[in-house]
Symmetry: none
Subunit: 234 residues, 2 copies
DNA sequence: TAAAAATGGCTCACGAATGGATCATTATGA
DNA sequence: TCATAATGATCCATTCGTGAGCCATTTTTA
């Protein structure tokens, strides 16, 4: 019996304990305010370590479905969470954002991100940036170029090591994969402009490698201004 | 059994593992994001060395059809993300963002947003801002103050009339409603600091009413720097 | 009333599994 | 014979679950 099985089983038990708690709450086995089994009880019941168990229950606490008190125990929450539907609407509306809005937000985030990245990028980040440069320059067609163009920007944001920023940027980036954007790009990304973009990319990466925050911010900002002008017909 | 057969069989196994993975993805046996067999499993399954196997799978990773994570495993790529699960995971991860990360992103967005808002805010926006000021100053306890504090910042971002920016900021703001933040604030928002915050708020709103982008950006930035220092113990 | 037990909050170190990467050796085919 | 491909063997960094232990608070018990 390999460890893989053990880990897989752990995942199953995580699901089991989540289902156990959530079903108990949903079916009214425990009413709001009722006391739930203690962590050490659940630990024994489901054969999980307390660390894993606590991590599993963390989302339930964050969303308010359970509340925990030191020395007393865990209890069913008394308020109803509303974050799930908000998340849905967020993503739905992001998908409908206009190119002008997207570029405006990118101009807020990315220059500042480059500034931070200049101080935080590690060797692997720099290697990835070089790879993105090389691959985008070697790209045979527009979609391939766009792919590595996007990866380059994602890598810069990732180099900030700020998970929240990365997630937000990822959400913004999803918009650019929409059909509308594809058409927009096909019209605006010409061979001539690709050359300009690549030069700007190289300048940005050089600034990051040189650990020059000001130059990184400035060059990325200029790049995005050009991209915006091309996209919006400036 | 000639030598040629052995080599041919190696080539065949390379084709076999490629076909195995690609067919599994194409036929939906593994959905985007699903975990693929580990390299050491495939090694055993197809009788290839791990070096050869990894070289074989490299193109799949380069093209984004699979993604590999150290310590976790290999997964089907999410180039065509279903919006619902992506949104869920985004929100779930935003919930886990640290105060340091949140403040860093707010410092990217809000000063710039204030700059834009100075030029775009309408009469209704300004009226709402005044209301937020008045109510936060009249707040009886910390939670009430926090509520109108938050509303003030949301209103500023809303005044930019950039829907995408508003949605992103709303998502960030959700984090601050989490239990962790509540405790953090209760410790950091003292009466003395409330006074400072209110003065800074008024200065920001005044700048917006005066249509002064530079002053709006500067004052909001200063405000957030102070908030960050208080939160993170600067 | 004071001590003991129970409970959630938290940190640390460990082992197993995984992908990332390099090297020397062996087999293959020109 | 020699260049190339495949192999086998390590070592590394990261992730994940586990176990143990300690703390602060609350409840129970003596």
């Amino acid at each position: 019996m390999t460890l893989e099985n053990i880990r897989d089983r752990a995942a199953e038990r995580v699901d089991a304990v989540l289902a156990f708690i959530e079903r108990g709450i949903a079916e009214g086995t425990w009413q709001p305010g009722d006391k739930l089994p203690t962590e050490r009880e659940l630990e024994r019941m489901f054969g999980l370590s307390r660390n894993t168990l606590r991590k599993t229950l963390k989302p339930l606490e964050d969303s308010g479905r359970i509340v925990r008190h030191v020395g007393r125990g865990s209890f069913v929450g008394t308020t109803k969470p509303a974050s799930a539907p908000e998340g849905e609407s967020l993503l739905r509306r992001i998908v409908g954002a206009s190119p002008a809005e997207v570029m405006e937000v990118r101009l807020m985030l990315e220059p500042h991100a480059a500034e931070l990245a200049a101080g935080r990028a590690n060797a692997e980040d720099l290697r990835l940036l070089e790879e993105c440069l090389a691959r985008s320059e070697a790209a045979g067609d527009v979609p391939e170029f766009e792919h590595w163009d996007g990866r380059l920007h994602v890598t810069i944001v990732g180099a900030t090591k700020n998970g929240l920023l990365m997630d937000l940027y990822e959400a913004i980036n999803d918009v650019r994969r929409q059909a509308e954007w594809g058409k927009l790009k096909a019209r605006t990304v010409t061979t001539e402009r690709r050359k300009v973009y690549m030069e700007q990319h190289r300048r940005i990466v050089t600034a990051l490698r040189d650990r020059d925050p000001d130059e990184a911010r400035r060059s990325l900002r200029e790049h995005l201004e050009v991209v915006r002008a091309n996209l919006l017909g400036g």
